[in-house]
């Protein structure tokens, strides 16, 4: 194995890393907002809202991200309505298509995590808050959300790491992320071991870094919650 190819092309990996990090952080951030809305929609008694949320989550979680990416990137460009409207500026770019598909994907998984956490909130706490005369919004803000944050955190951190790995699929729609760089180097030099092992190492290091950040965060937040409880 000849890793000098990798060292010569290290700047490409750096650019790829930047793309991967951008896609992960943007999709997770936007996806979190959508997930929150979806989770609240699914919890409402309105049949249209909850039905829509249920269908959306079922369809997105039941189909592979790869097909979703293809559907957005290749499929939407086929539709006249998309091509002849202002949307075309958006869906013309592979980067924005990828971001769109990733965001939709993570929002469905995130919604399910948040909904599960809302359900876990003790009914007594909610009843007590109503008995204290809190409005629905106040109850959500003061009672449900703080508990949801603690409950959903571990699963959500896991979802972020899954998203980091999921971004590798965007290399199939011509985006040069870390995996894209590795595939390019492999086809140029026919050096699969060097190219993909270095990509794998970058992902592994990123994962380890994220996991250590998340465990510290989790510990800190749980500690705060514990201190609040005993005072």
């Amino acid at each position: 194995m000849d890793f000098s190819i990798i060292f010569e092309n290290l700047h490409r990996y750096q650019e790829g890393l930047w793309i991967t990090l951008q896609l992960t952080s943007l999709s997770v951030t936007i996806g979190l907002f959508l997930a929150l809305i979806l989770a609240l929609m699914k919890n409402t008694t309105n049949p249209i809202l909850s039905g829509f949320a249920r269908c959306y989550i079922y369809v997105i979680r039941g189909t592979p991200l790869l097909v979703q990416l293809y559907l957005v990137y290749y499929g939407l460009s086929q539709l006249e309505i998309v091509r002849e409207s202002f949307l075309w500026i958006f869906f013309r770019e592979p980067y924005l298509c990828a971001l769109f598909a990733l965001t939709l994907n993570t929002s469905a998984y995130g919604a399910e995590i948040i909904r599960g956490a809302i359900k876990q909130t003790s009914l007594y706490e909610i009843e007590a808050s109503y008995a204290f005369g809190m409005s629905k919004v106040q109850c959500y803000r003061r009672v449900i959300f703080p508990s949801v944050v603690r409950q959903a955190m571990p699963a959500y951190f896991n979802e972020i790491i899954l998203m980091l790995h999921a971004t590798s699929l965007v290399s199939t729609i011509t985006i040069v992320d870390i995996t894209g760089v590795a595939r390019m180097l492999n086809s140029r030099y026919y050096a699969p071991f060097e190219a993909f092992i270095s990509a794998g190492i970058i992902y592994l290091l990123l994962t380890i870094l994220l996991v250590s950040i998340f465990t510290t965060l989790e510990k800190r937040i749980n500690k705060q919650a514990y201190q609040l409880k005993i005072t």
């Binding site: 293809y70 559907l71 290749y74 086929q78 699969p192 994962t207």
Partner: protein, 234 residues
């Protein structure tokens, strides 16, 4: 004209769906074997074995599936031919994308299955195992008669979940050139410009697979008298 072509390609997508199921089922078998043996190995006191298992799960969880698959597909090609060359033969072998796909997916989900079965074994009451030994059963009998039947039930929720994720990840084999339904949809949209319909069709088939799997789970739950809702939630 166009509609008959769409129909023709849809039929080949259905054929590709059969291949998808084959890949999924074979890799499920591999991952289950890895999962059960890994879970049993984790109980053992062999330090080297535990170290190897730790390395295995870390690598699988830290590296995207696509990168692993590309590494095994392209790297395996070179490694195999170097091996053949080193053995003194002068032939060239093409690595089969079907086996690469099955092996990679089986290998990846094996890591998750280890956790599934380890948790399931831990859920078995320890007294039962001790009692079995007290009755004079040997280690194999205990594993077969006490551990396995209960492990299977405890593992069911997480096993189903792994299966659903595994099924979807078979879409990745299209990237290494295997003619599963995703790749046939690619080819079809390349030749007649109707990608939206074809990918939508593939999505529907995947949703159908999910629905069938959940129906099967319900049947199993009915048979063993367990609450399906409870299984799906956990």
């Amino acid at each position: 004209m166009l509609s008959s072509e769409i129909l023709g390609y849809s039929l080949s997508i259905l054929k590709g769906a059969v291949l998808t199921v084959e890949v999924a089922l074979l890799s499920l078998v591999i991952s289950t074997v890895i999962g059960i043996s890994g879970a049993l190995a984790k109980k053992s006191n062999n330090r080297l074995l535990r170290y190897v298992l730790f390395l295995y799960t870390t690598i699988i969880r830290g590296i995207p599936e696509l990168v692993l698959m590309l590494l095994i597909f392209f790297g395996g090609q070179i490694a195999l031919n170097n091996l053949i060359f080193a053995l003194g033969y002068d032939t060239y072998i093409d690595v089969n994308p079907f086996f690469t796909g099955v092996l990679t997916i089986g290998f990846i989900y094996g890591a998750y299955m280890i956790e599934t079965f380890r948790g399931a074994i831990q859920a078995i009451e320890h007294e039962q195992i001790e009692t079995a030994y007290a009755f004079g059963m040997n280690k194999w009998q205990v594993t077969r008669k006490i551990i396995f039947p209960q492990m299977a039930l405890h593992a069911l929720p997480s096993y189903t979940n792994n299966w659903l994720v595994l099924l979807k990840s078979t879409a990745l084999v299209s990237v290494i050139g295997l003619n599963d339904m995703v790749r046939i949809a690619n080819l079809a949209s390349g030749s007649i410009k109707e990608p939206f319909i074809f990918y939508l069709f593939v999505c529907l088939i995947f949703l159908g697979f999910t629905a069938i799997s959940l129906w099967g789970l319900k049947r199993i739950c009915l048979h063993y008298n367990i609450d399906t809702e409870k299984v799906l939630k956990s």
